[in-house]
């Protein structure tokens, strides 16, 4: 099956051919796959310039797409996201590959579980974390048609099936007062496996900013326990849950990539397991959390 990255390149080539407003800026990642086009600008290995150029194109009325590996798209030029795009109020679609640990073998330099927290720290960004290639396809098309600032986080990890459009989709309903488990993006498949024999409500979100506060309240109904499973830094959206449930007593377990260096190579699957984000790890965390309720 085509992965998110390949689909993104296909859609990008298509958009360049069909939409005069679309321009693409790269920095030596994805260059060959996107190919030559008068509105594809590869700036060499210069990521600050990549964001500046995207801002300049936006200033002239284009819909720029900037693309690189997660740490080089978000972390290295972060102040350029804040100022060139944000402070200047210019739109762009930023599309990353690599997610938190797709490049496990490449080591820490190519891993960026902090990315969503960093983009979320800036005002006015929409952040999509698709869990399936078809969701990535839909969200990218949606972003191209808009004019705001969108961060689309693609990953090699993917769920077994796509989830239909919807901000917060309830996929399984528990009994009245049952805990709510919210899976973000590609954590859904392990979450469903880890919760298969539990009386919980399972919900899914692929768009984490803005955060679906009201939808989360509705999904929790009379329950008090919330488990949030994010494929990037643990707790990235914990404050959003606190806002959603500001006037309701509740307990929260926020799972994700711990904020510490694993300092291991290997595979993405090994990293997922080491971070406790595979089905067994999630089941184990749920066990301890619910034991104390």
């Amino acid at each position: 099956m085509t992965g998110m990255r390949e689909r993104f390149y296909e859609l990008t080539r298509e958009a360049l051919d069909e939409n005069d407003r679309v321009a693409v800026v790269t920095a030596q990642i994805g260059n060959d796959a996107i190919g030559e086009h008068p509105r594809h600008f590869d700036v060499g290995i210069r990521e600050q310039l990549m964001i500046g150029v995207a801002a300049g194109l936006s200033l002239e009325g284009y819909r720029p797409v900037a693309h690189s590996y997660t740490p080089f798209l978000v972390e290295r030029p972060w102040e350029f996201l804040k100022l060139d795009l944000g402070h200047n109020d210019l739109g762009a679609v930023l599309v990353s590959i690599g997610a938190s640990y797709d490049a496990a073998r490449a080591g820490r330099t190519h891993q960026a579980p902090e990315d969503v927290a960093l983009v979320a720290a800036l005002p006015g960004w929409t952040i999509h974390v698709p869990g399936h290639v078809d969701e990535a396809d839909r969200l990218f098309r949606q972003a191209l048609g808009g004019d705001g600032r969108t961060y689309l986080r693609l990953s090699e990890e993917t769920n077994h099936a796509r989830v239909d459009p919807g901000w917060l989709k309830v996929l399984r309903r528990g009994s009245a007062g049952a805990p709510l488990v919210v899976a973000v993006g590609p954590t859904l498949t392990p979450v469903l496996e880890a919760t298969s024999d539990r009386d919980v409500t399972v919900a899914y979100i692929a768009t984490v900013r803005p955060f679906p506060h009201e939808e989360l309240r509705d999904a929790l109904a009379d329950g008090t326990d919330v488990v949030l499973v994010e494929p990037y830094q643990a707790g990235t959206s914990a404050a959003e849950i606190a806002v959603a449930l500001r006037d309701r007593p509740h307990r929260l377990l926020a799972l994700g990539v711990p904020n510490e260096e694993l300092r291991r190579y290997g595979t993405g699957a090994e990293h997922r397991a080491a971070h406790g984000l595979d089905a067994a790890g999630i089941a184990h965390s749920l066990e301890s959390f619910f034991e104390t309720s």
């Binding site: 600008f41 700036v43 310039l49 500046g52 995207a54 300049g56 936006s58 350029f80 200047n88 109020d89």
Partner: protein, 215 residues
């Protein structure tokens, strides 16, 4: 891109506008180092379809005074510079001040944005300071624009020798090595500035004008 103006003020009115801005007879050197370059750009060089990006947003009094003289910023807006209700702050904000095409202040951002705008064929002038060139991000823009021959871009470097470690053998040499056409002119000489800054329809490379001013 200029707004329609009802110009009434000239170069000789700038000191009075600056005094109105700051309430001070004396002015910060950095705000004045750019004064003549800005005046020549707005008075003699920029057309309605052109874009000017002030990358060196630090010390913008001269910029605001020129915009006011050209009727782009209302003269009344100069009062209360930097106050809570003012549209004119110590670093310009394009969402607040009329005629400001780039929000700047943090150094090393404007040239990259200027490259992006110039890639669309837009004629763009971008003003940076010699001290600002310390920031490595400028050189990403200089290298790329030079190598691809981005002829719609003109960088104006106001050089008041404020870079702490200096630029041995000159700023213009660095631009030339990267493929730019570069020259040094007297940053107070309006005729020389005009000649250097006017668009060159035959240009096949980006242009750098180093405007030298004494501190």
């Amino acid at each position: 891109m200029r707004m329609a103006t009802t110009t009434t003020l000239g170069y000789d009115d700038l000191p009075e506008l600056l005094t109105r801005l700051t309430g001070d007879e004396k002015h910060d050197r950095s705000s004045l180092s750019t004064l003549d370059v800005l005046w020549v750009l707005y008075d003699r060089v920029l057309g309605d379809e052109d874009r000017f990006l002030l990358s060196k947003g630090h010390g913008p009094a001269a910029f605001y005074a020129v915009l006011a003289a050209k009727g782009i910023v209302p003269v009344d807006a100069l009062d209360g510079f930097g106050s809570f209700d003012s549209v004119l702050g110590y670093h310009p904000d394009r969402k607040l001040a009329p005629g400001v095409e780039l929000s700047s202040g943090s150094l090393g951002h404007g040239l990259g944005v200027a490259v992006g705008a110039a890639l669309t064929g837009r004629r763009v002038w971008c003003l940076v300071g010699d001290g600002e060139l310390d920031e490595g991000s400028n050189w990403e823009a200089v290298q790329y624009a030079g190598r691809i021959g981005l002829s719609s871009l003109t960088a104006v470097v106001v050089d008041n020798a404020s870079a702490w470690y200096g630029w041995p053998e000159g700023i213009e040499r660095r631009f030339m090595l990267e493929g730019w056409i570069a020259q040094r002119v007297d940053g107070r000489d309006h005729e020389a500035l005009e000649a250097a800054l006017l668009p060159d329809p035959d240009a096949t490379r980006p242009r750098c004008v180093v405007a030298e001013v004494t501190r």
